[in-house]
Symmetry: C2
Subunit: 205 residues, 2 copies
Amino acid sequence: MKIITISREFGSGGRELGKRLADALGVPCYDREIIKLIAEQNGFDEAYVSHLSEKVIQVSYPMTIGRRFVTTNPVLEQQIKIISSQREILRQFAQKGDCVIVGRCADIILRDMKPMNIFVYAEQQAKIDRCIANGREGENLDPKVLLKKIKQIDKERAAYRELFTDTEWGDMRSYHLCVNTTGKEVKSLVPGLVNYVNGWFEANK
Amino acid sequence: MKIITISREFGSGGRELGKRLADALGVPCYDREIIKLIAEQNGFDEAYVSHLSEKVIQVSYPMTIGRRFVTTNPVLEQQIKIISSQREILRQFAQKGDCVIVGRCADIILRDMKPMNIFVYAEQQAKIDRCIANGREGENLDPKVLLKKIKQIDKERAAYRELFTDTEWGDMRSYHLCVNTTGKEVKSLVPGLVNYVNGWFEANK
């Protein structure tokens, strides 16, 4: 079974790379679909799930009384529900067959299914440029604001990863291949990447 | 022009990967050839050049008097000669045409020729296993000794790199692609890699 997970820096083009890689391999790509399903199954709003999906909620008071885990914060309770739901959904998707999964610590959660884990990154300026090029109407595209956003989102993803593992987000040792998209159109890197991925799954130990 | 540089952790199979990649691309691979030429051109012994080639000689006394650079240490003088000779030879090789260059900070030295820079790495245990599998007769293949050797050589390479640049050896940001060879035979990764490399050079900005 070929399960490919994509971890990505914000603005690196990782999501696009995942989608294009999946298309080229003829397999589904799970990304926003995960959010959508969690929202449906738990009766949450999609935007709300998205907001809580890859970050850690800060709790400002003790979370245990004696040995008992205390969750009286409703947002925290919902995040725990979302995380548990996400884990379930990821496994269901992966069990259906070959696929690409973007984000959500799928590399860790599906570890036992031996996925190929790819990290997508780029230089800061390249990420800012990509954010500007892909910017939505009404979005603040000031480079300084974007850089702050890039750093903030990556920090949240790194903290989120720590919920699942002690290996570091963005440490090359956690991945099988690290792809730098600086100065390149994502779509022009994909045909070669498809070949590498297929070779990796066929490769002898 | 396609110039590919390979930086590699000791024991990761990076040298083999460079050689096989070059063969598959039908271009020369420069590795020991560089050592050989330096030795010839400077009248040094090849083993001696190899010994000094990717490490920094420690100097235990002040190296400047006032503003004047002082080199009264003959080993240091020879290392400076080797570094300068190496730079010259790398440029000559690269100017001949497409090629793969293993080690020697070619990614930094040939920066202006826009090479594709690949970093090859693996988990510690995989590197130890590879060292044992490729071990020469008479070599101490005790895993603890090998791990110490791996760490020592990588530390020397990292320090050597600092002579040329303030970007870090082994930091993914310095490379265009980082390849983890853990659990895979290098030769089985190469066909896919050739495709990625060709695609990278053709890729639109």
